[in-house]
Amino acid sequence: MTPQTDSESFVLLRLAERRFAVAAGDIAELVAPSRIFRFPHHTKEIEGVILRRGRIVPVCDVAARLIGKNLRSRRFYLIAQRRYATGTEWIALPVTGDCELISAEMIPASEADLPHVSGWLSHDGDVIEVLNLNALTPGPLAAQPTAPVEALPQEAHS
């Protein structure tokens, strides 16, 4: 019998040479890049939107913020759930390589860490940032809930 540990599941994503982690529970799916639809807006972090399973999903390139440069190529979109005060919505994060599901123990972030870091984990000799998508991706300035809440229907009507 193996001893119980406090390990959690994370998805490792790759942005150029660096890897980051997101709690597996926040991930919806990994999809091949599809057409991005662009329309005028003033949220500079958002590139446009993609259509996925009938939903219109904003695409947010987080590379500039995490590695200091935009991605030249992208291999997949990692579709994650972003929590808002009123519910959760999907957001697509472009990534440059395969993603990996791992179990690891997370060391919570300290006050010295940036807001988008929710913790750290050690994997394959690397120390990897666990991302806080609520702080990393844009949204209303209202306080974010700490616990998941039920998603609201996204349609104004159907």
Partner: protein, 224 residues
Amino acid sequence: MRLPIPTKAPPVRTEQIILFRVSGQLFAVSSASVQEVRSVDTLAGAAREIAQAGLRKVRHVVQRGEHFFYVVNGAMHFGLPPFAPALVFVLRRTRTALLIDGIEKMTTMTRLQALPQAFCNEERDWYRGVTAIDQTVVPVVKPEGFLTPDELFVLDSSLEPKDSASQPGDSAGAPPSVFEGGPFRSSDANDSAMQIAVSGSEAPDSSLSGFPQSDTIDPASFPQ
């Protein structure tokens, strides 16, 4: 044995929309929000220039009766490259006349998705939401989002000094306003899309020569 009563699926709510382009970019607007579609040529001579440097997207105002309609350049509003507008939408229940490239087609949307909350700036005032038409995502504009109350206040203020000198719409020596006596529809917001005014066909007399037939748009001619 009793068979279960078959339940009818609820009817799908649909909304008729007009797909239009501004500076090449595709947008949608509820056709019930469009009171009139006019050629920009019909504005010539009727629109009065506004000396309001603070709001670049509005350079002209037209008057109909007691109401002013501010002519909003759609490209400037959305931050798109300049373009030569061909048509103007007079938007119902607003004071906005919107300059656009042209109409793509009229169609029906069955689903309007709220704008994702990741969009968290001015665009939340611009759009009612987004919809997918023929596998293309199109933002659906909010008619009242083209001019904020503050902008309207500034624009109204800019009109006041001139108003005291000569009433806007007093067209002594000037061509008749495109909106004077023009074919404005009633302000009933429940009018359907196909009730968009066809200016020439409703012109009561030849004094409306500012609305040549050739410059009017027959909604029935929109590609479906």
